[in-house]
């Protein structure tokens, strides 16, 4: 699922219904953005696992309530949004990679949460032990 926000305005080609859908879609993308950054999001519970060095390993955000109505265009009725954020560390024990995956069917299946270029990994680059750059990547 692309993280690109949808901007739409009612006009002759793009009516109020599509516009409302775009707003819902963008709202969910905003929620995912907050989750990817590690922040709490109203309506979502978080489960966290740790690796052998007690570092963050996986944080899973799960929508607390399965709404009866579908959330067009992203989620069917009675399903929950889930985001899984995976943290990877380099040989110096530093956080080097974050990956986002999302599910619109209560965690049954996940797909990459990608940017406009299709990248789902956010990488941290260290030079001589110092964090010097951050960027999206396909791996």
């Amino acid at each position: 699922m692309s993280a690109a926000f949808k901007a739409a305005y009612p006009n002759s080609d793009f009516g109020p219904t599509l516009n409302a859908d775009a707003v819902r879609f963008s709202l969910q993308m905003l929620r995912y953005t907050e989750m990817f950054a590690g922040n709490p999001v109203p309506g979502f519970a978080v489960a966290t696992t740790y690796d052998g060095s007690n570092r963050l390993s996986v944080r899973t955000y799960t929508e607390r309530t399965a709404h009866a109505a579908a959330d067009t265009p992203t989620r069917s009725a009675a399903q929950r949004f889930v985001m899984r954020v995976t943290y990877t560390y380099n040989g110096s024990g530093q956080l080097s990679k974050i990956r986002g995956e999302v599910s619109a069917n209560s965690g049954t299946t996940f797909s990459n949460w990608v940017d406009l270029e299709g990248n789902s990994f956010y990488n941290f680059t260290f030079t001589a032990g110092q964090l010097t750059s951050e960027d999206w990547s396909a791996s």
Binding site: F36, A37, G38, N39, G52, S53, R55, L56, Y87, Y89, N90, G91, S92, G93, Q94, L95, S96, I98, Y122, F124, F126, A128, G129, Q130, L131, E134
Partner: protein
């Protein structure tokens, strides 16, 4: 918070364990003395009667003076895999003065440099901080070698248990199924249907303080 986490990790990265086999580099952010602990991989058990199970890996703990910003290479050895590479891999750290190596367990001599090949030999201390890997045997009815507070795996019928490591018991033998797996450098037990895998080695780094 993502970037904040990365920065916090950079600033507070004083100690960690690398338990994933492979080759990595460690770049300290502070110059000073570091304790490096290395554990070699354990050997896998076999699936032939009276065959030896897996020996345990070697434990080594030594000091290195590391310089901030310099990348130091290290390798974490895999545990032996039944049906694959059965020997444990070496775990090593390339320090500025010397390379510290914990032997992975191999057939016969295990993970020892002292020449001891006695059946079910317990791990023994050499020098200040080196523990020669415990050994197993094909002898029936005896327990494989132990190490520190951990014990070797038990023998079962004609199958031998794996030797212990400094951090884990050896895998138990199984006369009616697969041998138990080792963990954290211990050896896998042998079994009638399959041998247990050896435990992976690992490396730990801890800062002792600034220069």
């Amino acid at each position: 918070m993502s970037a904040a986490l990365a920065v916090i990790g950079q600033l507070t990265n004083k100690a960690f364990r690398q338990a994933t086999p492979g080759t990595f580099s460690f770049t300290p952010t502070i110059s000073g003395w570091y304790w490096i602990t290395t554990m070699g991989g354990g050997r896998a058990g076999g699936a032939v009667t009276f065959s030896a199970a897996g020996h345990g890996g070697m434990y080594v703990r030594m000091r290195h003076f590391l310089t901030a910003g310099t990348a130091y290479s290290y390798t974490v050895g895999s545990g032996g895999v039944f049906g694959g590479t059965v020997n444990g891999g070496n775990t090593s750290f390339t320090g500025p003065v010397f390379t510290q190596t914990s032997l992975g367990a191999i057939a016969g001599t295990g993970a020892r440099t002292d020449g001891v090949t006695t059946d079910n030999a317990n791990a023994t201390l050499s020098g200040d901080t080196v523990w020669q890997g415990a050994l197993t045997s094909a002898a029936v009815g005896t327990r494989a070698g132990g190490c520190g507070c951990f014990v070797g795996g038990t023998h079962a019928s004609s199958y031998a248990g794996g030797a212990a490591s400094m951090y884990a018991n050896g895998g138990n033998a199984n006369g009616a199924g697969a041998g138990g797996n080792g963990a954290l450098g211990s050896g896998g037990g042998s079994g009638s249907t399959a041998g247990g895998n050896g435990g992976h080695g690992f490396l730990e780094i801890e800062s002792m303080g600034t220069a």
